[in-house]
């Protein structure tokens, strides 16, 4: 138990470091660059119409207040942290006066739902198929799958999403290609709405799954083909242990351990992919929110979504890390 506690403390320390560095990065990017967001917003407003000088001065002042740009550098830094800790990112400029936190709260369930389901499916399926491919090396269809995985895996998310969009939106239009659910349905726990959500999520999650599958498949295949030659597996084979049992509890069980670490380490990259996939399919999650906020020039919303995504990803990594000892008992005694 003592070992597990020390392990947990170390992981929580790493989590705090990630959040600290991430938030500081966001602070430095927004504060240490020569471009002043206040002046940008002011010029964006005044370029279309003539405004009285004292009205501009007033606007400048309230914008500075809004962006937390008042006072000394240190004051600004403290304000920045305080706002993040209480989850207050100010009102959104493009959807004034809705607070940024409300917009994020609305988008977060969509992203979380899409990401968690597609990541779990990808991880489970990729590892299962990869494990089989590593164990049954002569199987033709598993070999073909390896070739396909090598061909699709290195392609960026945008290209695959675009290909699916063209294929199912224009060539063979059977699936909805935009939005999170049908427009005319009220949100609620009824079958019509839920089925519409599922239908709309097929293409975005399919593109995430197609791309993610390859790396788990290839990783698991090479892990398993190394483990198969280990002495204990050979011994089990010679002793006549059932081959299905060798595969599940001798080979796969051991190969899964590094794959869980891999999952924690690639969550950030998976999130990157989800951002762009959401945008391509017009899915109403954090990614679409972020990109639309950039187009609308909405400073507080961009900063809010960035911070929340850093927090969200690092919390997920922490959860995986804390569950890790269940799979690998060595951590508990270390």
């Amino acid at each position: 138990m003592h070992g597990y506690l020390a392990y947990c403390l170390k992981r929580i320390g790493q989590f705090l470091l990630v959040v600290f560095i991430g938030v500081n990065l966001a602070y430095v990017i927004t504060h240490a660059t020569p471009i002043d967001p206040v002046e940008q917003s002011v010029s964006a407003v005044t370029s279309f119409s003539s405004t009285a000088p004292d009205a501009i001065a007033q606007m400048r002042e309230s914008l500075q207040e809004l962006y937390g740009l008042k006072g000394s550098r240190w004051d600004q830094y403290v304000t920045f942290w305080r706002r993040i800790l209480v989850g207050d990112f100010g009102p959104s400029l493009s959807a004034f006066p809705t607070p940024v936190s409300a917009l994020i709260a609305r988008a977060l369930p969509w992203t979380a739902g899409l990401l968690i389901t597609s990541t779990l499916i990808t991880w489970a399926l990729g590892n299962l198929l990869g494990g089989l491919a590593g164990y049954y090396r002569k199987n033709r269809s598993l070999k073909l799958m390896g070739v396909l995985a090598m061909g699709i895996h290195p392609v960026p998310y945008y290209i695959v999403a675009l290909a699916l969009l063209v294929a199912f939106g224009f060539i063979w239009p059977i699936l909805p290609i935009g939005g999170g659910s049908a427009m005319n349905l009220p949100q609620g726990w009824n079958w019509a709405f839920v089925s519409s959500v599922i239908k709309h999520s097929i293409l975005p999650s399919l593109s995430l799954i197609l791309l993610g599958l390859g790396s788990w498949f290839l990783g698991m295949r090479s892990l398993v083909s190394n483990i198969v030659t280990e002495d204990y597996v050979v011994y089990a084979e010679v002793a006549g242990v059932d081959s299905r049992r060798i595969l599940t509890s001798y080979v796969m069980r051991n190969a899964l351990v590094p794959q869980v670490t891999g999952l924690a380490m690639s969550l950030g990259a998976i999130f990157n992919g989800a951002v762009i996939t959401e945008k391509v399919f017009g899915y109403p999650g954090l990614g679409s929110l972020l990109i639309d906020a950039v187009y609308a020039g909405d400073y507080s919303l961009v900063l809010g979504v960035t911070t929340v995504s850093i927090l969200g990803v690092s919390i997920c990594v922490l959860v995986i890390d804390l569950l890790y000892p269940i799979l690998d008992p060595r951590v508990q005694v270390a």
Binding site: V18, I21, I29, P34, I35, P154, G268, V275
Partner: protein, 288 residues
């Protein structure tokens, strides 16, 4: 060096395919030097002409010959990936070698920072950069930013090799013969990690090109420098798919996919070559 190349060509089909794909893409990029058009000129050809003998890949709605535009785009995109890869290799070598050799608290601090950069989702950070810099976001600046964000994964890999090298006898010998840490790292350890550096270069190029394509498709880069993402961006701006001008999107996509798969296959085959077990399995005709 030549012997390695010969072995790879003879025994490794992935390497052959990868070389072929990357070679084709590189050849295409080289053609940009003999292009009859300047890449930023528009309306130099009749717009919206489908692929024909005069215009092999058709022309765009902006009156550009897609073939020649593509040569410039590939050149810029590949050069971008290469610059990011070189810059981030320097960072990951420095951090990986020092962390592996020094060990102790230096290692722990460096690896905590390293893991942080692996965990943080970089895409929102890049978008934040663009949002703040706007028009000042240039090609070079983006390359430097990406290099500063993209070293972490490979630094960990290099560190794991460096940790093994530290316990080898020759490290002790050079230490006792009075070499400084810098000399040991650059003269003794660096040659051992070079193979990994080569194979991670390809993967890193894929990573940075992928992000660059994504950013420029959204219009979050300097859209006047022709890149693959930039071409798709302009095609989307002119709603090329809906208008049926498929060649404007299809050819950039085909070539960039060739580049990705080719670079990836090169990286995979080099990795396999570095690992003596899998190399023997292949050369000996065994394995699967």
């Amino acid at each position: 060096m030549l012997a390695i190349l010969r072995d790879l060509l003879r025994y490794n089909i992935e390497f052959r395919i990868g070389l072929l794909l990357v070679g084709t893409v590189l050849g295409m990029a080289m053609l940009s030097f003999v292009s009859p058009y300047s890449p930023i000129d528009v309306y130099v050809a009749p717009p919206d002409v489908p692929p024909s003998e005069a215009y092999w890949f058709g022309t765009s709605s902006r009156g550009q010959d897609v073939f020649w535009q593509l040569t410039f785009a590939l050149r810029n995109t590949l050069a971008f990936g290469f610059v990011v890869a070189i810059l981030s290799r320097i960072l990951s070598l420095l951090i990986g070698l020092v962390a592996g050799y020094k060990g102790g608290w230096v290692d722990r601090v460096l690896m905590s920072i390293n893991d942080t950069f692996i965990i943080i989702p970089l895409f929102p950070i890049l978008i934040l950069f663009y949002f703040v810099l706007r028009d000042s976001m240039s090609w070079v600046l983006l390359a430097v930013i990406m290099a500063c964000l993209g070293w972490a994964y490979d630094a960990r890999l290099i560190r794991s090799v460096a940790m093994g090298l530290k316990t080898r006898e020759f490290t002790q010998t050079s230490l006792f013969s009075g070499m400084t840490t810098r000399e040991i790292l650059t003269r003794e350890h660096l040659p051992y990690v070079m193979p990994i550096v080569f194979s991670t270069t390809m993967n890193n190029m894929n990573w940075s090109i992928g992000l660059e394509v994504t950013l420029s498709v959204l219009g979050f880069t300097d859209i006047n420098t022709p890149t693959i993402g930039g071409m798709i961006y302009w095609a989307n701006q002119h709603t090329a798919i809906v208008a049926g001008i498929w060649w404007w999107i299809a050819f950039p996509v085909i070539f960039i996919v060739m580049a990705f798969v080719g670079l990836y296959l090169l990286a995979v085959s080099m990795n396999e070559y570095i690992d003596p077990r899998s190399r023997l399995a292949r050369v000996g005709g065994g394995g699967s």
